[in-house]
């Protein structure tokens, strides 16, 4: 295999890994938008919060000798870390919805957006002031092995991230399409008032949405910490924008669209970093966002948006 193809294959692997994180985060944006028609600007802070909770849980639990004694125990440690971080972040999401967004449900559309920016500012600075202003190392407790496939190499970490991401997506997808609660979520996103008339508890569905989205965001945050080896109070901002772009590219409000969009943005970014310039790699997402919004505001899998201007 030629070196050129090897680079492409390598960027493909990196892009899929990145894309998985963006997709998980994008799901949160798309879920909330689907139901409340608002951009949850504070969602990028869920990514950050989840990473911090994950770090502290990992540090705390790894002091117990049992968890680091054997392979299966280590797996249990990581599973617990994810579970605790996701639940904690989910609860934070529900609390934010209750206090910052619910009072504004009938306000003009600018109001919840400004409120969300406030929440984001608050959480970022809370992490900066009360945890640390510097980046904290995120430990990796297992031995990372690298496998070579053709010209590309893939690490066990990347495999873990990709596989877990896909599992989480499958769980979410079947939850939304198969269960009763999922059905009520779909109904609410189609027409909130009518869903209410059909006996669906709207507030409960919205709270559930604000639990699931941040929980998935927390998982993405931990992945980011594991992958890059450190976390910082402002780590959510750039991935947040990229994930939002991913949600729009896929068609905002559409779950499978968000997953597709996430992988697309991840791939595009890693290819751009290799072939255009690393300095401008963060610009790619913004440019894609602007182009998609101008030419296909409904996104790839979204329905055409009736409301214009």
């Amino acid at each position: 295999m030629s070196a050129e193809l090897g680079i492409i294959a390598q960027q493909f692997v990196n892009g899929i890994t990145l894309g998985g994180m963006y997709a998980l985060l994008a799901l949160g944006y798309t879920l909330v938008y689907g139901i409340l028609l608002m951009i949850n600007f504070a969602h990028s802070e869920m990514f950050m919060f989840g990473a911090y909770v994950g770090l502290f849980t990992l540090q705390g639990l790894s002091r117990i000798a049992f968890f680091t004694s054997s392979g299966p125990a280590l797996l249990l440690l990581y599973a617990l870390t994810f579970l605790i971080a996701m639940i904690a972040t989910g609860i934070l999401g529900v609390v934010i919805e209750r206090f910052a967004y619910r009072p504004l449900r009938h306000a003009p559309r600018l109001a919840p957006l400004i409120s969300a920016i406030g929440v984001s500012l608050f959480l970022q600075n809370a992490a900066l002031l009360w945890i640390s202003s510097r980046s904290l190392p995120f430990p990796v407790l297992f031995e990372v092995r690298t496998f070579r496939i053709g010209g590309a190499s893939i690490s066990s970490m990347q495999i873990l991230i990709i596989v877990t991401t896909i599992v989480l997506m499958l769980v979410l997808d079947s939850f939304v399409s198969r269960t009763r609660l999922g059905k009520s979520m779909r109904a609410t996103s189609q027409d909130r008032d009518t869903a209410g008339l059909m006996g669906i508890d709207i507030n409960r569905v919205i709270a559930l949405t604000f639990f699931i989205g941040p929980a998935l965001g927390a998982a993405a945050g931990i992945f980011s910490g594991m992958y890059y080896g450190n976390i910082k109070y402002n780590m959510g901002f750039i991935p947040g924008i990229k994930a939002f772009t991913a949600a729009v590219v896929g068609g905002i409000g559409n779950l499978r669209g968000a997953m597709l969009g996430g992988f697309l943005i991840g791939l595009l970014e890693s290819l751009a970093a290799a072939y255009i310039s690393t300095g401008y790699k963060d610009v790619i997402a913004f440019v894609v966002l602007i182009i998609v919004l101008i030419f296909k505001p409904g996104g790839l899998l979204g329905e055409s948006v009736a409301e214009k201007v």
Partner: protein
Amino acid sequence: MGAIRNGLVAVNDFFSTRVGRIAFFFVLALITLFLPVMFQAAGNVFMVRIFALVGIYVLLALGLNIVVGYAGLLNLGYIAFYAVGAYAGMNLGFLMQELLKGLGFLGERPENWSYWVLLPFAAVPGVLAGIMIGAPVLRLRGDYLAIVTLGFGEIVRIAVTNDIFGVSNGASGLPGVGQKVAPVAGQMWVRENLSFGDFLFSKDLYWYFIIVALVLFAILVITRLDNSRLGRAWVAMREDEVAASSVGVNILTTKLWAFALGAAWGGIAGHTYAYWIGFISPESFNFMESVLVVCMVVLGGMGSIPGTILGAVLITAVPEVIRALAASPLLSGVLTPEQASLVGDYRFLIFGGLMVVMMALRPQGILPSRRRARELQPVDDTVLAQENQQLWEAEHKHDSDSDII
């Protein structure tokens, strides 16, 4: 509580009278014109600099208020126009100096006329950038627009950090090696002719007065705009786009005007800031700055000029003043320097919390525009009934008047 409330009402009543209003403006003029001079006389240059900085932010907030307050479009990348103005001003200034040097016009003591020569055109780079970003994206729904403008702000910051077109000298900022910003024309003159005794008419004081003049000019222009055909079109569009377009308001051009005219003040502020400080780097133009300006407009009152100014003053000055007061011997016993610097550290946290609280409890801001308050605060049925009653009575009275005639 009742006494405080009554007191506030009394103060408000006093300021609504003619005498009260004159007194209020007199005090305001006294503060804005003489306080910085007093600080300068006391040798406290730091406070003069804060006054000037507040002025820059007032200018920015007034500009953003056109976009957010009048047209109802959220722009989260407003600082990009500030950056464009600053970088354009610096680079054109360097070009001018080169040109003058080449023509042999620069004497022994080169004074820098580029600030003054470029000032009438300072808005142009901002306006161009505003139109460039506005034209394709203004069709978008409001919240999409917010994210796209945020993206635009980041693109500008990243481009400047990567030394785009070789004009920004990357992360190390301007002026780069071999470039020099000479003292701006007039600065030396006031220093030599208006200083007496111990009082030094410093560079910062000079710039403070330029900035005050610009703010007054901005207030004048924006007030006129607010009462113009365009201003009414903005209000109509903000309240109901469909209704506005059905009575002949061209939504796209109206939005574009708001964007361009808002960006103009960003450009002017950037140009002025660049020549005042004499150094610019990408750090000064990050997303947090954009959020801060949005905060000023929201906190003070969207669509209200006094409110916007108050918001800018509160957000820029209060943390700095508390820090400065704690450092002064006057208050050293009350607040330790550590506590005072904590105030500075906590300000973003507090602003974030304030934005949430304001949206829930008082979305119209501290000093709201009356019209905006009505839009943002869902009207109580009893209030509505009362107003309808008054309206009916007024009309009825008018009818009976015409009967008599």
